[in-house]
């Protein structure tokens, strides 16, 4: 099932939640919608599900207009952040719900329903909980039951809204891995919403980064990390050092100092220099584009972290860098920093 979203606009009062969004999702993909809160990612998901309606634009499933159908007729499985399990029903009945509400003409027999629910509970590895009530389950178990319930109707598309957002870090990690394995098994076209970049990069085949109702970048997890298309994406994904620079006569200037960096045809004017923390090579004074004094060194894990006060910036900018453990750094040292990789984005881009 391919999903084609075109020119979707959605406003809530004066707030534009989605501003002319286009997106194409291929069959069998596991796509992540990643963005900060208020970026419109959940609204987009709800519009695809039929729980919200756009003010303009179209949504089609395999070329067929989805907006002409209500949520119940789209055969979409939806998993909510807070599970939305029916508390007065046992786990079994929760999973069976979608099968029991089918029109009589196509409804499965009781034996078929039983078999199907058992298969689904096996799939989410919780068959032993069939007789329990949702209140008796842990958060992670509830979410897996919610997923089994969504899968019961054999959805053409699976949509997950911050599925692991309400869970603690450890369970979240386990479920991520589990979701990816599950997707490899059942291969249904899936979209999940998250504000957690690690989750998006780890689970999805493709990541859509959103901000303020617009799509900033669509790409593989590697792409959005290594080749961020906009300043927003660079700042949002991974940790970046951001320095305010000015491009003048094809040179990069930081404060009153001209940096020995190629401006790469960046437009003249105030800009931002983005560098990944681990992409700065530390060298002896005078050997790199940037200079600074070491203030603090914290050594743990495979690398050490150092706070460095950059000279040549008006009021002095403190940055945090990652350096290899074998590099000897002491507070008070004057070092040079040479970006191995960097990106320049014009201010406001």
């Amino acid at each position: 099932m391919t999903i084609e979203v075109r020119n979707i606009i959605k406003r809530f009062g004066g707030f534009t939640a989605l501003d002319n969004v286009d997106l194409r999702v291929e069959t069998g993909e596991l796509l992540a919608l990643l963005g900060p809160s208020g970026s419109g990612k959940t609204t987009l998901l709800r519009i695809i599900a039929g729980l919200d309606w756009p003010d303009a634009g179209s949504v089609s499933f395999d070329g067929e207009d989805a907006l002409a159908r209500g949520a119940g007729e789209r055969h979409v499985g939806f998993v909510f952040q807070h599970y939305a399990l029916f508390r007065h029903m046992s786990v079994f009945e929760n999973v069976a719900f979608g099968l029991r509400v089918q029109p009589r003409a196509i409804r499965k027999s009781e034996a078929q329903i039983k078999a199907r629910v058992k298969d689904l509970l096996d799939l989410v590895q919780l068959d032993w909980l069939a007789d329990r009530y949702p209140s008796q389950l842990s958060g992670g178990q509830r979410q897996r039951i919610a997923l089994a319930r969504a899968l019961a109707i054999e959805p053409r598309i699976l949509l997950l809204d911050e599925p692991f957002g309400a869970l603690d870090a450890k369970v979240r990690k386990e479920l991520r891995k589990w979701l990816r394995t599950l997707h490899e098994e059942i291969h249904v076209t899936s979209i999940f919403v998250t504000h957690d970049q690690e989750e998006a990069l780890e689970v999805a085949n493709r990541v859509v980064v959103m901000d303020k109702g617009k799509i900033e970048q669509i790409g593989s997890p590697g792409d959005v990390y290594e080749e961020p298309a906009t300043a927003f994406v660079h700042g949002f994904i991974g940790e970046s050092i951001v320095l305010p620079v000015e491009i003048r006569d094809g040179r990069v200037r930081l404060g009153d100092r001209e940096l020995n960096l190629d401006s790469r045809d960046a437009r003249p004017g105030p800009s931002k220099l983005f560098i990944r923390r681990h992409d700065l090579a530390v060298g002896p004074s005078g050997a790199g584009a940037l200079e600074g004094a070491v203030k603090h060194v914290r050594a743990f894990g495979p690398t050490q972290r150092a706070d460095i006060l950059l000279s040549a910036v008006g009021e002095g900018t403190l940055i945090e860098i990652d350096a290899p453990r074998d590099r000897d750094l002491k507070p008070g040292d004057i070092v040079s920093l040479q970006p191995r990789r960097y990106r320049i984005f014009a201010e406001g881009a």
Partner: protein, 262 residues
């Protein structure tokens, strides 16, 4: 703990015990004669039967009112919301007189109903109307907060799974509200059984026709037949207790099934 129990005893149990002590002045046969006399039985039947019917009506009407108040935004919603509390706040005698005036033969509602051949005031139907009036806030006020808290996502989840609007209401919403609905029903019922002030004005109080049990107790008291009065009271007490107890069990059962841990 000890303090609570002492209070409970002082406020509730000791007066109730007094009821039994006073009733014990009657011999067993006198007691049975009193409580099985036609007039007593009829009064009890009126009180319990009509209270039950009124609570059922309130259950349905209350749910509709709650639904409108919670799920729709309309001008004057807050005023309607406040109006629901009037039967709580109004002195019962005032309510009784107002209802009687309204439903009397020349009343605003009484006259058109009389033209249709329906007589409300001074009949059991009048008692029924008064019991509905005083019971409605109990259902509304117990169910309303639960419906407000009911997660819209439950309905959305059901809709995505293909449930129709009707299936969502009957299979998801109503079952989620069941414990609150039962509580509201029990409260409305209990209030209607014991209601005195608002009922006696509209009832007409004809023995064996439209006489409620609480009124019969008052009549026995005014005749200085205290033990007879307490005998009727004991029967009401035991019957009410049993009914509330059963409703409680039913509610507990519904609650356990709907138990939420967040």
């Amino acid at each position: 703990m000890g303090l609570t129990l002492t209070w409970l005893s002082l406020l509730i149990l000791i007066p109730l015990a007094g009821l039994f002590v006073k009733t014990a002045e009657l011999s067993l046969s006198q007691f049975i004669d009193t409580v099985t006399s036609n007039r007593t039985l009829h009064a009890l039947q009126i009180s319990f039967g009509l209270a039950f019917a009124a609570a059922l009506v309130n259950l349905v009407a209350g749910l509709l009112i709650v639904w409108a108040l919670v799920r729709y935004r309309f001008p004057g919603r807050r005023i309607f919301d406040a109006i629901v509390d009037i039967p709580f706040a109004l002195p019962t005698a005032v309510a009784g007189i107002a209802l009687t005036t309204l439903f009397a033969q020349q009343g605003w509602l009484g006259a058109p109903l009389a033209a249709l051949g329906i007589k409300v005031a001074f009949t059991p139907l009048g008692i029924f109307v008064a019991m509905i009036f005083i019971g409605i806030p109990f259902v509304v006020r117990t169910v309303q907060p639960v419906l407000i808290d009911l997660d819209v996502e439950l309905e959305e989840a059901a809709a995505c799974l293909g449930a129709s609007r009707w299936q969502i209401i009957t299979r998801v919403i109503i079952p989620s509200l069941t414990p609150a609905i039962l509580t509201g029903f029990a409260l409305a019922f209990a209030r209607a059984v014991g209601e005195y002030g608002s009922v006696i004005f509209i009832a007409g109080n004809l023995p064996n026709v439209s006489e409620i049990a609480p009124l019969l107790i008052v009549i026995r008291l005014s005749e200085f037949r205290y033990a007879d009065a307490t005998a009727i009271a004991v029967v009401m007490l035991v019957a009410s207790f049993l009914i509330i107890f059963l409703l409680n069990r039913l509610q507990r059962w519904a609650q356990i099934r709907a138990l939420s841990v967040g």
